[in-house]
Amino acid sequence: MNRLAYLVLPLTFALAACQVSSDPDLDQTGERPELPEQNDALVPAMEIPTPEGWGDELPVVPEGYTVSAIAQDLKIPRQTLVLPNGDILVAEGSGGKAPKLRPKDVIAGWIKKEGKSPVEGGDRVTLLRDEDGDGQTDLQTTFIEGLDAPYGLAFFDGTLYVANQGNLVSFEYTEGATSIAGSGTEVTKLPAKINHHWTKAMTASPDGSKLYVGIGSNSNVGERGMDVEEDRAVIWEIDRETGASRIFASGIRNPTALAFDPWNEQLWAVVNERDELGPQLVPDYLTSVREGAFYGWPYSYYGQNVDPRIKPARPDLVNKAVVPDYALGSHVAALGVDFTTDGGLGGRFAEGAFVGMHGSWNRADPSGYKVVFVPFRGGRPSGEPIDLLTGFLKDGHARGRPVGVTYDEARGVLYVADDVSNTVWRIAPRGAARRNSSGDTTQLPGDPRPPSTAPTTR
């Protein structure tokens, strides 16, 4: 292998010289991102920051905020959920068993693995409990075991829903429980053939009648053939009672996190767009999801920008492709989204959406690797994203990579799952007992608290 590398690497560098580099002046966030020319380089730009420990350091938060680890040594934490009693659930796992179709898949697999944690996915849900409201975890238990790459979590009316990579399972929950035995009840199977993009993001509608599940595409841009893309790159709407499903939106390449906004009660998704069109194509995005809308994949991106790599072309579909609402930047790999309610984290982070960005591989100048805040006004994005949690990259290494973000309404804090340092981070306004007067943060588990009137949507 090494000798082969000596042979191939100089050639690779020579070829890599024909890649274009990023233009720092290009504004790729907001409602009208600037899109450069396509550059399908012979060797796509690749920069994989390899994992490294935090040492004594922590991620960086703005002045006036604190960050602390509330769980460590997890097994690939992805998404989190806050239960009505304040317990935090963490879905841990690693899915995807896509067969290697081309020599490229083998080589790209080796390379991308360099940027990931060597820990094996836990295939479980962990519970974190803060008993005294000091922001630290007092009790950590394995809540559900024996899952299969769980990712999306939703809770409604005493039932917990877990989206595995291949099915949606429900568990009856008793307030204060620290573990649930058994394998739950299958609500419905989820598309799982190949599972190139395996994550099944999930949220419940505010009235609890429907569950929404994001099902990513089975390829970058249809290069496994369109036969395997049936029921892929879609968001499913699932009836919570019967398990019946229908396609709610399509052409939405990889919707990795879903949430309802509290203002218009509209469904939003963060979506990972396609690779290998250059360092600044295509921007990942945050969008409200319109019922029945087609978002372009694989035939076009950001509306009607045709992708020539997919044949036969479908001008009929391109014509009806919808432009997403808000660009987050190219290759940032947004994997988490949640909205503020009731003042959020205060200051500049009072009203809007938090977005966890796992970070890029397909550009020489890494992007993402942080949590940003997209300010909203009147239920629409308004203004540039603001960095909330940074410092994940240092000297070319990744000390962590953010995934799911969950805003804890009762405590006024934000949780961020990090699947490289296997940590859950908690971000709070400094001197954060600002909600203590309401008693919410000091509530003990198992308290006979009256059932929450506001439905919990995540």
Binding site: L7, R102, G222, R309, K311
Partner: protein
């Protein structure tokens, strides 16, 4: 005293001949699957091309290494002119083959394209030329 010796042994030794057989078979096979992909847009043909080219490149690399050794230590040292020509052909075939592997690593329709087709044609031609050079049986040596 000069004398001319007619050597009826092959220029390439049997092991080398076996190695060269792979590019000779695989590059033209990739050319055929490329053409089929361009005619059908059925992605599996492009996948076939990728593997055929990868296999051809692997053996082309071994052939190149073997040809270099042969030029200095093997039979070809008695036929430097032909050995050098052979080396140039093999090196070009290997270089273009690796380029073609990268081309075929692009996604979808871009995995072949004009560049991929041209590279597959060139690699096939070079492989056949290399075979003619290597498998012609007569070498004429002048020995001092």
């Amino acid at each position: 005293m000069d004398r001319t010796v007619t050597n009826s042994r092959s220029f390439a030794n049997p092991l080398h001949a076996i190695l060269l057989a792979f590019p000779v078979a695989l590059y033209p096979a990739a050319l055929l699957t490329d053409i089929t992909y361009l005619n059908t847009a059925e992605i599996q043909w492009s996948n076939f091309s990728s593997w055929l080219i990868a296999g051809a490149d692997l053996f082309a690399g071994l052939v190149l290494a073997s040809a270099l050794l042969a030029l200095f230590f093997g039979r070809a040292r008695h036929a430097k002119g032909r050995g050098t020509l052979y080396l140039i052909v093999i090196a070009a075939m290997f270089g273009l083959g690796v380029l073609n592997a990268f081309q075929h690593a692009r996604d979808g329709w871009h995995s072949v394209g004009t560049l991929g087709l041209v590279l597959s044609i060139l690699c096939s031609i070079l492989a056949l030329i290399a075979a003619f050079v290597a498998y012609s049986t007569q070498t004429v040596e002048k020995r001092a």
